[in-house]
Symmetry: C2
Subunit: 208 residues, 2 copies
């Protein structure tokens, strides 16, 4: 009905993809992430449970897709040249100058703050962070097609571990009110910058 190139098929596919992601997004905002089931997501997205698995292999994979939407905007601002010579500092500058978008931070907070100390939560979180690292690895690979796989793999894991550690340190701080204050955002940035600093220095700079 509209144009020839997109095609109805790909349009529908994109639509259900987005519906699933949106359903997941809203569920994360109102439930502890480790309690979310595929059935809930599918129902809210208006598709069958089976269809969910046609798009994502599991909840963590789908969650990493939400992450990807947020993170894609960030890494778009990266300088391809500086990535080649000093990627960690490039990323650190990006964080220092542009900062992390508040809705991104809010999502991270939702993902982890709801449920507290259960074992299941740590399992889910680990899987999600691993998926995010895999996504970043993919992105770096397309950004630096001829780079050493070792370079890309270790770098993406290292960077994501900084995010993860910063997030953990952040959520261990005392109670954080629902709408994130500027001070909270500032606190996360401090944690993340410190972590990236350790990464950049090879864990040598501060004699802990």
């Amino acid at each position: 009905m509209t144009e020839t190139s997109p095609g109805r098929r790909e349009l529908n596919r994109a639509r259900t993809h987005e519906a699933i992601v949106a359903a997941l997004r809203s569920l994360v905002a109102e439930l502890p992430a480790e309690l979310i089931t595929v059935e809930q997501v599918a129902e809210r997205a208006g598709v069958s449970r089976r269809t969910f698995f046609n798009y994502f292999g599991s909840i963590p994979v789908a969650l990493s897709a939400v992450f990807a939407e947020h993170a894609a905007g960030m890494i778009a601002g990266l300088d391809a040249e500086q990535i080649r010579t000093d990627p960690v500092t490039a990323l650190r500058r990006l964080v220092q100058e542009d900062g992390i978008p508040p809705d991104f931070l809010g999502w991270l907070s939702d993902l982890n703050c709801h449920g507290q100390g259960t074992d299941g939560r740590m399992l889910l979180e680990r899987t999600v962070w691993a998926e995010m690292a895999a996504w970043l690895r993919e992105q770096l690979h397309t950004l630096l097609p001829d780079a050493d796989p070792l370079f890309v793999s270790t770098l993406s894991s290292g960077v994501m571990s900084c995010f993860q550690a910063a997030e953990e340190a952040w959520t261990e701080d005392p109670d954080r009110p629902e709408p994130l204050s500027d001070a909270d955002i500032e606190a996360f940035h401090r944690h993340l910058d410190r972590a990236l600093g350790l990464l950049a220095s090879g864990w040598r700079s501060p004699h802990v």
Copy 2:
């Protein structure tokens, strides 16, 4: 009946723990890891499925216990002083001088070589590596009790990502015969050293 201190209870507990680990070890040597089920492990260990879960939360957790047995011997040789000032180089030297025990490498190879490209394999592997990183984090925490959590978390993740990346690069090399040759071990060491070098330099040294 025997002595007072160990006690029959803890002895039995240690025995079934070891039985489960041994069963898992033998299964890994003869099956693709992602096909191993809890029922198989329990049966071979001579306990019920339910008892397995009394000891380990999942197969990946149990696998990381096997890893821990191997790795504990390695990090015992670490100099506590050098860890504080330059942990990555300390670990790098350890690998360069002592090397990775061949049976450790053989286990890593078994864990990953059997099954090829399935999606389930990557999922399992990621979980296992995450568990290993958690174990190392624990070890570093007891080794450096007053260190910054960010320091310990990012460091352990970074180091384990080097092992993971080295292992991936290693297994992508052409077919490796069952008994590991010295050249194979050498190859793994080269990959690992290169990865640790990237880690130590903050991904700056080689202008890829």
